[in-house]
């Protein structure tokens, strides 16, 4: 009996507060499998605003955040005629993936303090801590610029399409260079600059099949992995020499 009670309680907790009233959303897929021919894919986030009484002022913001990692940004300086890495900043626990789509530009949707509080927008991505002897802001901006160029950070006003007053859809590109792990897809409903409902759905991006096994082998049994690589290289080298010899 106790088990049943606990399970029911867990289900109640798992249901996002408020989501049942104002906002429902879903993903086109909850798992992305990185296989040998993975070149990136699109995730479609779709949903409905329930009870859209004040239609004109509803805004939807969709944010996909990837697993965090520590990142080091280095700045080259002109020293004795050559450009070498000089100053650096370590940004602790930055998201490896951050993609935001919204119905309009963010500054039209909500005031700055709201955007900052919910970490909405590239300007509001912040590490938990910065280790640097210098002004960290240029380093943080450089990181965001690099990640945008890599295709793993993005901010697209208008990226959320309203198909009707109640239905919305957003397409999130998942680049080929993404870090595997658990992602969170957060959908925010804002009305007159206030977040009135939010829903979070996990998205799993994982390497599968042979790739996963090779990745595991490389990290769990690196010696055997190294020996396997050398054996493969030797065999291929020998085979090619033997094959060409026969043709002579």
């Amino acid at each position: 009996m106790r088990f049943v009670v606990l399970t029911t309680a867990a289900l109640l907790v798992a249901t996002p507060a408020g989501a049942s009233e104002d906002l429902v959303s879903g993903l086109s897929q909850d798992t992305v499998e990185i296989t040998s021919n993975y070149t990136g894919t699109d995730i479609v986030v779709f949903g409905a605003i329930e009870r859209p009484e004040e239609v004109g002022s509803n805004d939807i913001v969709v944010v996909v955040r990837g697993p965090t990692a520590d990142m080091t940004v280095r700045q080259k300086e002109w020293v004795a005629g050559i450009w070498i890495n000089h100053d650096q900043a370590k940004l602790v626990a930055m998201p490896t993936f951050y993609y935001l789509a919204s119905t309009r530009t963010l500054d039209h949707i909500a005031p700055a303090f709201t955007l900052e509080r919910y970490a909405l927008g590239l300007d509001n991505i912040a590490p938990t801590r910065i280790v640097s002897h210098h002004d960290p802001e240029p380093f943080r901006q450089a990181l965001i610029r690099h990640k945008q160029a890599e295709g793993v950070y993005g901010e697209v006003p208008g990226g959320v399409e309203l198909l009707s007053p109640t239905l919305f859809r957003a397409r999130i590109p998942v680049a080929a260079t993404v870090t595997p792990g658990q992602y969170n897809v957060d959908v925010y409903l804002l009305r007159d600059g206030t977040v009135i409902s939010a829903q979070s759905t996990p998205l799993y991006i994982q390497q599968t099949g042979l790739e996963r096994r090779l990745y595991n082998l490389a990290h769990v049994e690196p010696l055997w992995y190294g020996v396997l690589t050398v054996l493969m290289a030797s065999l291929l080298g020998w085979l090619s020499a033997a094959a060409f010899r026969r043709n002579e």
Binding site: M71, R74, R212, H219, M232, G237, W238
Partner: protein
């Protein structure tokens, strides 16, 4: 079709991988060098993380060197004893080099170390070889005889002398061991086989006969790059076996074509070609160091 590389964590079209491997393999067979000094910058330029490029290139060189070496060894163009002495020094150098590689990476000075080592080494060797081969070509055109016998070098007076029958040499083992050690270090930190150092060192310092130089240098390169692959895999987890497979498939075919092409060309012309290639890479890397970068900031995951 694009192929996902599990360690580099990126997708690359398989034809591009085969093409890069093939081009480098061709040079490998032609010159008796590993070609890593071109492949590593090529991979980094293509967006492969530097540590993956360095470590994976080593295994590519193992394969293309074996392919090229068997062609040489069938004609007995190999000094196994000399190769073994140099490989022993090379193993020590590899261990030291991987340690240095890990240390420099921690301080964010990997790029500087790699680029400046490339510029200095390739610039010096390329210049020396260009000079030498131009002189040889002029001498041939002038109808002069072969170069005079080399003067006796100071290093030939060192102790622990050993007879190397195939090289027709009776010299101390110290210079070959030191050369092997240095090349082992280069293999680990630059992702090169070191043929561009070993071949001139054998010819100009050890005075080995040119015909056994290629087979012997390839033997030494095979041992050192195999050791580098295993050490990088266990220390930095940066060997990408899928990337290696495609580079090798292209490389072994290119190497066979290279060896056959090399047989039809004169030694002086070969050396002139190699000198020009080496100098071109050195100049390009030199400009990378002294010109203002487009973006002074760089990002790496992880931290010191």
């Amino acid at each position: 079709m694009e192929i996902y590389l599990p360690i580099a964590e990126m997708s690359v079209h398989w034809l591009i991988l085969l093409g890069m491997g093939g081009a480098i393999g061709f040079l490998s067979g032609l010159f008796g060098v590993g070609g890593g000094f071109l492949l590593t910058p090529l991979l980094i330029f293509y967006g492969v993380p530097a540590e993956v490029a360095v470590a994976t290139t080593a295994s590519h060189i193992t394969a293309s060197s074996i392919s090229g070496a068997l062609a040489q060894w069938r004609r007995r163009l190999l000094d196994l004893k000399m190769g073994s002495v140099m490989a022993a020094g090379g193993l020590g150098g590899t261990v030291f080099g991987v340690w240095l590689f890990t240390l420099m990476r921690r301080y964010g000075q990997m790029d500087l170390l790699v680029s400046s080592s490339y510029v200095i080494l390739l610039g010096t060797i390329g210049g020396l070889m260009l000079n030498e081969s131009l002189a040889a070509l002029r001498a041939r055109r002038g109808g002069a005889g072969p170069a005079k016998r080399a003067p006796h070098l100071w290093m030939h007076g060192l102790p622990f002398k050993m007879r190397f029958r195939e090289s027709r040499l009776y010299i101390s083992v110290i210079p070959p061991i030191i050369i092997g050690f240095g090349v082992g270090v280069l293999s680990a930190i630059m992702g090169v086989g070191g043929g561009f150092v070993v071949v001139p060192a054998m010819i100009y310092l050890l005075r080995m006969p040119t015909n056994v130089v290629m087979g012997t240098s390839l033997f030494q390169i095979i041992v050192v790059t195999a050791a580098t692959t295993v050490l990088q895999a266990t220390t930095n987890y940066s060997v990408d076996i899928v990337l290696a497979l495609f580079l090798i498939l292209g490389g072994v075919i290119g190497a066979q074509i290279g060896v056959r092409t090399g047989e039809r060309l004169h030694g002086e012309q070969l050396r002139l070609l190699l000198a020009l290639t080496v100098l071109a890479v050195a100049v390009k890397l030199f400009f990378g160091l002294v010109l203002r970068p487009d973006d002074p900031f760089s990002v790496s995951t992880g931290g010191p």
